[in-house]
Amino acid sequence: MKVKVISRSTDEFTRERSQDLQRVFHNFDPNLRTQEKAVEYQRALNAAKLDKIFARPFIGAMDGHIDAISSMAKNPNYLKGIFSGSMDGDIRLWDIANRRTVCRFPGHQGAVRGLTASTDGSTLVSCGTDCTVRLWNVPVATIMESDNLSDCSSEPRAVYMGENAFWAVDHQWNGDLFATAGAQVDIWNHNRSQPVNSFKWGTDSVISVRFNPGEPNLLVTSARSKQLSKCVNYYEYNILSTCEPTWNFKMETGSAKFDPKLGLIFPISQIDRSIILYDLRVSSPARKLIMRTKTNSISWNPMEPMNFTAANEDCNCYSYDARKLDEAKCVHKDHVSAVMDIDFSPTGREFVTGSYDRTVRIFQYNGGHSREIYHTKRMQRVFCVKFSCDASYVVSGSDDTNLRLWKAKASEQLGVLLPREQKRHEYNEALKNRYKHLPEVKRIVRHRHLPRPIYKAGVLRRVMIEAERRKDQRRKAHSALGSIVTEPMRKRRIIKEVD
């Protein structure tokens, strides 16, 4: 008689510890499971739906300021600390975990336009429209944690006077230099009351400055022409976003024009909406790029030192390679009004933008459209945004005097995850990523509820762009072959590159 038994070698099946899992054998022959693709597709669909269900990005608001938040800075050395400056000159240090003010830095007379902290997190530099640069000592983290100290305030360590109002400040990574922007770009040392270096190129006033975190001697600034600033403001505060194309048209022409909508004459004699690269080692500016519209803010990619992204007034963000400024590498569109601030995630894979249209969006570093949009009923114009140092949170400061804390991934589960939970999330994420191109999954993943004004503005914007495109097409069709060349969007907004 033939007897069949399962034979297993003992040393393969003996567990080392009693807690060890028993070995389970699985036949992975695909012929046994013919439905695997269907199963996984369904799972991907479910994962996408679950993501929607669990999408609760808003964690909390931090209130305390009594005027609009104008600037923010994160502490590069301490995860929970974030600084915010407001239009009335108040600077506060927040504990993100508890969402309360830890310390205040009174002193500024006008709006605080720029805030930055040194890499070791011990020094805070602020500047503002009162023509002063102030250096502050940041309280130590342990003091921050203790509960009894609810609202300490500190005196500035140093106050340096300038001649003009300052618009922005940024600190060098791993160095003791910081740069302020105003009428010109000044490079300061912590210990000197006078700038160690000043740069000026052109007649424009500089409105933002950023050091390259990878290459600490490289910095980029954006500027706008002084003559225009008034008009820009008028435009900003009166007509929203939607008149943007007409505005652009005005800017292109380069001579005085009458705008029927605004009833203003634009004195466009010398326009400079430039992005300038500086190199501190040779202590000279390196390259200037002039765009059609103002660049409000710039952020370097911390993982790719050659790339930076500029938040532009024309609702788009433009990613540039500092070596090839003749065209943008990527145009990130989705906002319906001017983009006010931008900050890269420390991973370098995505960035967050805050816009005048009252929304915060998160983009992939190479994605043309946003991955995520955040808005609340009470959030007004967003003036500044920051990504947290661990790349899992986003902080936005807006006109309504509040800082808001968001999750970078809307449906992420907070807290400690068990390994199995972690694995489950990863699996769901991988499935979603795999089937993201299929229509159903795509629809669910992309769908967002928007406030009506934003939605309508978006639709209108799309209509206008489409109309322009159509017109261009027709013009091209009715003119001689090759006489009209349509430039790609990456080049269209660039006027010229100046060396």
Binding site: E36, A286, L438
Partner: protein, 903 residues
């Protein structure tokens, strides 16, 4: 203009040593010129000459200088070769430059020159000054000039002589020539003559070198100078600031571009990585106990005190040296001593008081008090943790209690009180009594159950023991016979029992019935045999009773009996195992019955059993043989037909094999004992013979040409196929299918039917028939259908069906266009082909398959990139790190094989 200025500047710098005086002079001269300023300005309209030329002109016709420059132009027409345009700033054509009154300071007109006799005056003076100068004092100047010139020449000669060491004649000649030309100016370094301008009169380095000819080092010096001459270049004028800045910026940009480019391989690597891990090496804690201890800091008062004592330097030192000093350190102060003594005294007094109290308690005679006390104590001790001995004691106590309960059955309604209550009936009792009874029963259950649970392992044995004890009432001797009788009885009953044949189901089929009947007969037979044997054995048993008694008499008591029982049981088991092989159910039942009944029998019984078993085995064999035969017959049937068909279709092919099979069959049948039907046998034989004959022929055809071979023709492939598909018409079927599909996708329009009374009165309907529009519509629909059918993609393809129906369910699984990063459909499909779930992949692969693009820890600060040299050509799966803060896992393209990061 720029170049002019430059030349002037250079000149100034050149006469460094003579700097003082000329300055003084210029001032003076300027003063003197102030008055003629306006006139000068007016005059300066024509094309300007190079200053040197103009000077020369001045010298040639000093008188003309007084007249206006208009005529100067005429005069000069033949002298100079080229015209220099008026600089823009002077022409004042455009107002781009600020207008300056005059470029150099001029003296007022009425200024008188005091004493102008130094040679440098003239030497130095530029064109314009010269003019003014001459204008001022024309008369005496000529004379003065001559004097000065002579003096100057002399000096110059002397100087040249001194420097070059050549005789003065050599220079005199030259000078003479000059005089002939009548230069307006005395020749000097600063007033070069024409030949100087041409390049003759300049003092070259060679001239200077000649003076030291022959001296040591001369040769080297000359060599150097030659080299310098060869390479020598003139310095260019600096560019304007804007241009310079621009160039600087270009250079800076180039430099920074280069610097940034060095990041490229690093960035490329990170971008291409399937996973980028931000995982700084964070210390999860301390590695050793020592490390933990070293970090310890005393926080509370007590800890601080302890640490101060432990870490006392004296104590440490004493420990290190030897114990003797420790004794000294052990000294106790008087205060401490007093304190400790007081403490001890207090403790003692407390102890004493406790003792006194206990004595008093002991004296109390009240039982109630003591009972309560004990209860309290017990209660207190229940929750307390106890040591092993105590636990053992407790266990013993409980065990004793249980034993007591078992003995007395105190809680099993055995007491008088309980019996009385039971007698009176539970219904008559009040609530409390019933509760008490229930409680008692419960107590009993609890105690007995506990006992059972203690002896859990041996429970089954106990039950059998009890059974035994129950049965042990009767005498042992009787038992065997009794059992035998029982067995007999049972067997009989089974035999008599007429098992009803089921009317329905499989068993109701006739052949099944037959089989059952057969089986039953066999079983009955056996049963009868068994009964007979039982009877005989019973008789024997009665005979040997006496012997048995003696045998069992020697051994008494349960234990011994148990031992004998086990002995007996063993062979029984054997029998059982052997009997399992038998097929018939009835037998099995009987067997079992017998087994049960033969609880404790001796060898004789065993014998009986063995006999019966041998009988069963015989029966088995018989039955088996029958079965086998029938099987064989069954087997043969289909095989035969198969062979026949083979012979019919392709004999030439399978002949040998079939023959073999038949042979084996034949062998088997020979092996099988007689009961095979005769005709079958014959058939079989016939077949065998046939096949044999065939095979012989076959064998022959290998060598000789046999008749079979010649008669058979190999069919062609087409023929074979035609034969194979003789029945079915594929083409027709396909056409039908196609038509069906076409109809399904474009259904034929319904034929219009007339519904009486619908749309029109019935009579009208009858008269007119169907309304025209209905017909028209029908026609249209038909036409449309034909049109669409004609337009179908497969309309002209005869053998193809292209379905144009859109499958909505499938549509959601397809993308409209090729997704962005993919360049071809195949790649995209490949990317989603393999499943990634844990059900479809081994656990090791799943981890790599589902790893996200960015792995980061929450709460870990991610620093910006830091530079690190990357070999761009390096490829493969080994793990690389980025300065301790970033790791990347490279996976093979095959996705499944991932390299697990080692930390």
């Amino acid at each position: 203009m720029q170049s002019h200025k430059m030349i002037e500047k250079k000149r100034k710098s050149r006469d460094g040593k003579k700097h003082d005086r000329p300055q003084k002079f210029t001032k003076k001269s300027k003063f003197s010129k102030k008055k003629g300023k306006n006139e000068d300005e007016k005059r300066r309209t024509g094309p300007r000459l190079p200053q040197s030329l103009r000077k020369e002109l001045d010298r040639v016709n000093p008188n003309d200088q007084s007249c206006s420059e208009e005529d100067e132009e005429d005069v000069n027409g033949d002298v100079y070769e080229y015209e220099e345009g008026v600089p823009e700033e002077e022409s004042k054509k455009n107002r781009r430059f600020d207008s300056v009154e005059n470029y150099e300071y001029e003296l007022p007109k009425d200024f008188k020159d005091e004493n102008v006799d130094s040679d440098e005056d003239d030497d130095f003076d530029g064109g314009e000054n010269e003019i003014a100068h001459h204008k001022g004092k024309k008369g005496d100047l000529d004379q003065l000039d001559d004097d000065v010139e002579d003096e100057d020449d002399e000096r110059h000669l002397r100087m040249l002589q001194g420097i070059t060491g050549m005789p003065s004649q050599a220079f005199q000649d030259r000078k003479k020539n000059k005089v002939v030309v009548s230069e307006g100016y005395p020749e000097s370094e600063y007033n070069p003559t024409r030949d100087v301008l041409d390049g003759d009169g300049r003092i070259a380095i060679e001239d200077l070198l000649e003076s030291i000819q022959g001296k040591p080092g001369y040769r080297e010096l000359r060599k150097i100078t030659r080299q310098v001459e060869k390479k020598g270049k003139l310095l260019q004028a600096p560019l304007p600031k804007e241009d310079r800045d621009r160039l600087e910026r270009i250079a800076a940009y180039k430099q920074s571009k280069k610097d940034i480019t060095r990041w490229e391989p690093l960035v490329k690597r990170n971008r291409e990585a399937p996973t980028i891990i931000f995982d700084k090496d964070t210390d999860s804690g301390f590695s050793t106990i020592g490390a933990i201890a070293s970090e310890f800091e005393p926080r509370t008062e007590f800890e601080k005190k302890m640490s101060s004592l432990v870490n006392d330097d004296d104590v440490m030192a004493a420990h290190k040296e030897d114990g003797s000093r420790l004794l000294e350190l052990n000294k106790i102060s008087l205060e401490d001593y007093i304190n400790s003594r007081n403490h001890i005294a207090k403790m003692r007094s407390l102890l004493f008081r406790h003792e006194v109290k206990m004595k008093r308690v002991k004296k109390i005679k009240s039982k109630t008090y003591h009972r309560l006390l004990k209860k309290d104590r017990l209660k207190g001790s229940v929750g307390m943790p106890m040591d092993a001995e105590e636990a053992k004691e407790l266990a013993m106590k409980q065990e004793f209690k249980r034993a007591e309960e078992r003995m007395t059955l105190r809680h099993k309604n055995q007491s008088k009180w309980a019996q009385r209550i039971v007698k009176r009936g539970m219904d008559a009792q009040d609530e409390g009594t019933r509760a008490a009874m229930a409680e008692q029963l419960h107590q009993h259950a609890l105690l007995t159950r506990k006992m059972n649970s203690m002896k859990d392992s041996s429970s089954s044995d106990d039950s059998s023991d009890e059974e035994d004890s129950e049965k042990s009432d009767g005498s042992d001797e009787d038992k065997a016979s009794k059992l035998l009788a029982q067995a007999q009885e049972k067997t009989r009953r089974v035999l008599e029992e007429d098992d009803g044949v089921p009317d329905s189901g499989v068993l109701s089929l006739p052949f099944m019935k037959r089989a059952m009947k057969k089986r039953k007969e066999a079983a009955d037979e056996e049963g009868r045999l068994a009964i007979q044997e039982f009877e005989s054995s019973l008789k024997e048993l009665e005979d040997t009773d006496g012997a048995k008694i003696t045998k069992t008499g020697t051994v008494s008591g349960r234990r011994v009996f148990g031992a004998s029982k086990t002995q007996v049981i063993e062979p029984k088991n054997k029998i059982r195992s052997s009997s399992y092989s038998s097929d018939s159910e009835a037998e099995l039942e009987a067997q079992e019955d017998i087994d049960v009944s033969l609880g404790r029998t001796d060898d004789m019984e065993n014998n009986i059993n063995v006999n019966s078993v041998s009988l069963y085995v015989d029966a088995d064999i018989a039955q088996d043989s029958v079965l086998k035969n029938s099987e064989l017959v069954k087997d043969l049937g289909p095989k035969m037909t198969y062979e026949v068909s083979m012979l019919k279709s392709n004999k030439w092919k399978k002949m040998s094999s079939s023959r073999n099979e038949v042979d084996t069959n034949g062998k088997r049948s020979q092996k099988v004992v007689e009961p095979v039907t005769h005709n079958q046998d014959i058939e079989l034989e016939g077949v065998g013979e046939d096949s044999d004959a065939d095979s012989e022929g076959q064998m022959l055809d290998g060598i000789l040409s046999s008749e079979h071979k010649s008669s058979y023709k190999l069919p062609s492939q087409a023929e074979l196929i035609r034969e194979a598909f003789a029945g079915d018409d594929v083409q027709e079927e396909f056409n039908k299918d196609k038509e069906e599909i076409m109809n399904l996708e474009n259904p034929e329009p319904e034929k219009p039917v007339q519904l009486p009374g619908w749309g029109q009165w019935t009579r009208v309907q009858k008269k007119k028939g169907l309304p025209s529009w209905v017909l028209e519509e029908h026609e249209n629909a038909k036409r449309n259908r034909e049109e669409t059918l004609r337009k179908r993609k497969d309309a002209h393809l005869k053998h193809v069906i292209i379905s144009e129906k859109l499958d909505k369910k499938a549509e959601k699984l397809l993308t409209g266009t090729l997704p962005y990063p993919f360049t071809s459909k195949e790649v995209f499909e490949q990317s989603i082909r393999m499943p990634i779930g844990p059900e479809f992949n081994p656990a090791t692969a799943v981890k790599a398959l589902i790893r996200p693009e960015v792995v980061k820890k929450q709460g870990l600060i991610i620093k910006p990139i830091r530079y690190e040299d990357v070999d761009s050509h390096e490829r493969g799966g080994e793990e690389r790190r980025q300065s301790g803060q970033k790791r990347r896992i490279n996976r093979n393209k095959g996705r499944v094989k991932a390299v697990v990061a080692k930390s």
